[in-house]
């Protein structure tokens, strides 16, 4: 039996249960409302500046679809190009294999510590935990990722993993965990960033191995692209002697020209910037410049089986921008940790269960239902992933996996009732009898599962006469 895929966190409660706890956290609600509201407004402005935004989205969708359609060809082309430029390519079927490869490479380089560029792929496979178990300490160098790591916390957002924290909380984490931190550290963001800079600078200069993810891989040239905002990633990619990049195998684009599309789509969608601050491109090994050794780990971990699903495969177009999280009304209230995966929000609700690949797991099966299907995610997605469509599709898979249940019996009964006019009208007449127990035309208490509605909302009772009754009486 294959090892459990860590893309969903072990022991996570189902989404409704986790959400219940999150919803009562007033500080979390305030932090999220503020952060998502701010980035939402900025993104809308950044996107509205381009009059060809819709064409860019279509182009992004088309390029990614092309890659996914001929992924085998592009992967081989990419491997050949990386190898030709002095890189070493490793293939990892799952998280366990990828972690073993990285640990082995780190040990071969004699590393006790590795510095890390912010990366979703390595978070997905829980690389830090695996390295730690093997005696190697991973140091996150992205500021938000560092806050999560020092706080012994979980990430709650793809781009801003510490979005659930405000600056007062961050100050407390730094004061508690950073050696030699200034005792008078305030919660001024510039001071906090300064403290992190000092802490990290020492690590950059003393660590010989870096681990990164990849935003894009160019099949044509074997180039890897890392997009980040702080410059800490650039330090990792250039200073250490050994660089190990873990890249999901769907991250390819065919050619250099295609990057032009994504380097417009990604910054505007994620950070609402016109241009990304630090875009690092590296191709194999270059004499006298940057790392002496370059290893690339191509990660499957559920991607091939996701690709086999005709509806669900569009999730593999994702460029991890987080726009869907920032516009999602569910995410805005529950935060990311309620999703129980490194991939939260709307994209997480379709990506995590597919990568995990087991709809019999109650937690994974609950994720596709963590949406009101309002469609804000699809509207914001720069590569036009129809997230509501995939959510509904995965709900079907969840229903299939569950088999017979009280819900499936109720749904079958409702379908049977709606299947005939006579049965539907009989049900209407029966429902209308509720008016005798609800003289004001509404009910405030229904038995379970209706209580889930009436706990917070009244429900109208059917009036004496349905519309069709009135029509027959007046027009029939």
């Amino acid at each position: 039996m294959a090892a459990r895929n860590p893309v969903t966190w072990l022991g996570s409660p189902t989404f409704p249960a986790a959400a219940r706890t999150a919803l009562d956290d007033s500080q979390l609600r305030r932090n999220l409302k503020h952060a998502t509201g701010t980035i939402r407004t900025k993104r809308a402005a950044a996107v509205s500046e381009l009059d060809d935004w819709e064409q860019l989205r279509l182009a992004g969708e088309a390029i990614k679809n092309e890659v996914l359609t001929r992924l085998d060809t592009y992967l081989v082309q990419f491997e050949e190009a990386v190898t030709a430029r002095g890189g070493v390519v490793h293939w990892a079927r799952d998280a366990a294999e990828a972690n073993q490869i990285v640990l082995r490479l780190a040990r071969q380089a004699g590393a006790g510590d590795v510095v890390k560029v912010k990366s979703m792929a390595t978070a997905e496979i829980e690389l830090n935990e695996a390295l730690q178990a093997g005696g190697v300490t991973a140091i996150e160098t992205d500021l938000a990722e560092l806050i999560v790591q020092l706080g012994n916390d979980r990430p709650s957002h793809i781009l801003v993993p510490a979005i659930h924290r405000n600056r007062a909380e961050i100050r407390e984490i730094f004061r508690r965990t950073m050696p030699d931190v200034d005792a008078g550290l305030s919660d001024n963001p510039a001071e906090l960033a300064g403290a992190a800079r000092e802490f990290l600078r020492r690590k950059f200069l003393t660590t010989n191995v870096a681990v990164s993810g990849a935003n894009f891989g160019v099949a044509e040239t074997g180039s890897v692209v890392v997009v980040e905002s702080e410059g800490n990633g650039r330090m990792c990619l250039t200073v250490p002697e050994t660089l190990i990049t873990v890249m999901g195998l769907e991250k390819l684009v065919p050619s250099w020209r295609d990057l032009e599309v994504f380097l417009q789509l990604l910054p505007r969608s994620s950070t609402a910037e016109r241009m990304n601050p630090y875009t690092s491109v590296f191709t194999g090994v270059t004499e006298g410049d940057g790392p002496r050794q370059f290893h690339l780990v191509l990660l499957d971990n559920g991607r091939t089986s996701t690709l086999a699903d005709e509806v669900g495969r569009q999730a593999l177009r994702c460029i991890r921008c987080s726009a869907c999280l920032n516009v999602c009304p569910v995410y805005e209230r529950t935060g990311g940790k309620a999703y129980g995966s490194v991939y939260p929000g709307p994209i997480g609700a379709i990506l995590a269960p597919q990568l995990a690949g087991d709809m019999h797991d109650p937690h994974a099966a609950s994720l596709p239902y963590a949406s009101s299907l309002c469609g804000a995610c699809f509207e914001a997605c720069p590569v036009r992933i129809d997230i509501p469509e995939v959510l509904v599709h995965l709900r079907e898979r969840s229903v299939e996996a569950k088999g017979r249940s009280p819900e499936s019996a109720a749904m079958a009964a409702a379908a049977w009732m709606f299947g005939s006019r006579a049965r539907y009208e009989a049900a209407q007449r029966a429902g209308s009898l509720a008016r005798f127990v609800a003289p004001r035309g509404k009910l405030s208490h229904l038995p379970w599962p209706g209580s889930k509605w009436t706990n917070a909302r009244d429900v109208p009772v059917p009036p004496k006469e349905s519309f069709r009754g009135w029509w027959r009486r007046n027009r029939g």
Binding site: S372, R395, S466
Partner: protein, 238 residues
């Protein structure tokens, strides 16, 4: 013009006033309204909850019932979205189906329907009207021409109210949190009427406002547009 009324099972059963208003409005604008009595439910609940085969059989049934009509109209963005956007991939091309405001503004080319509604109103645009159908400003164009109506913009109007069909039961707590924010915005406008183009969203928002005895009443847009000085809107009695 001869049109068929797609009542939606929710409005037929719970909100007949909305449908009577829709008939009255369409007839006032010169349409001949037919009501195919075999119709029941479009299957949206089954579809969105993951019961595709049940949804498919209800969708096929719906397509048969409305086969041959040139224009099918419903006062519901989500039910029309189900039929016009999702039926083609599920049960085959449906008869041309319009959400009420789309039909009024695009087909009848009218924005002033001669309505009178002397109330302070705020409008929730509803997600499926907004994002699935893209009705845009059509409801606002129609409301702007209603005499006596004082339209107060709803802040964060494009945020979902938290209904989402079975979402309101399966994720009742999150749904309630979304509803709380929506109600806060509605109450902040000082309007006595919250309107929308979809009774399902109004059932949700109105159900919360009713629980709080907030004094704000949900009224479907069709009822506002049907109301005239000669025959003004009156609150529904059950």
């Amino acid at each position: 013009m001869r049109v068929a009324l797609f009542t939606t099972c929710l409005a037929d059963t719970l909100y007949p006033n909305t449908l009577r208003a829709t008939v009255r409005l369409l007839e006032r604008l010169g349409c001949e309204v037919a009501f195919p009595e075999e119709q029941t439910c479009c299957g949206q609940m089954h579809y969105n909850t993951g019961y595709r085969e049940h949804a498919r059989s209800l969708a096929r049934r719906h397509n048969e019932v409305f086969h041959g009509y040139q224009a099918v109209i419903a006062p519901s963005g989500s039910c029309v979205g189900m039929v016009s956007e999702l039926y083609p991939g599920l049960a085959g091309t449906p008869a041309p189906t319009y959400e009420l405001t789309e039909f009024l503004v695009d087909v009848l080319e009218v924005t002033d329907v001669g309505a009178y509604f002397p109330h302070r109103v705020t409008y929730h645009p509803t997600c499926h009207s907004l994002r699935m159908l893209g009705v845009g400003t059509r409801p606002h164009q129609l409301l702007a021409a209603v005499r006596g109506l004082d339209l107060i913009p709803l802040p964060e109007s494009e945020s979902c109210c938290g209904f989402g069909g079975t979402f309101a039961l399966k994720n009742a707590d999150t749904s309630t949190a979304m509803l709380a924010d929506k109600m806060r915005q509605v109450l902040g406008t000082g309007a006595e009427v919250v309107s929308a183009g979809d009774n399902s969203c109004l059932m949700h928002i109105g159900g919360g406002l009713s629980r709080l005895h907030s004094g704000v009443r949900p009224v479907h847009l069709a009822e506002i547009l049907a109301s005239t000085e000669e025959d003004p809107w009156l609150p529904e009695t059950r």
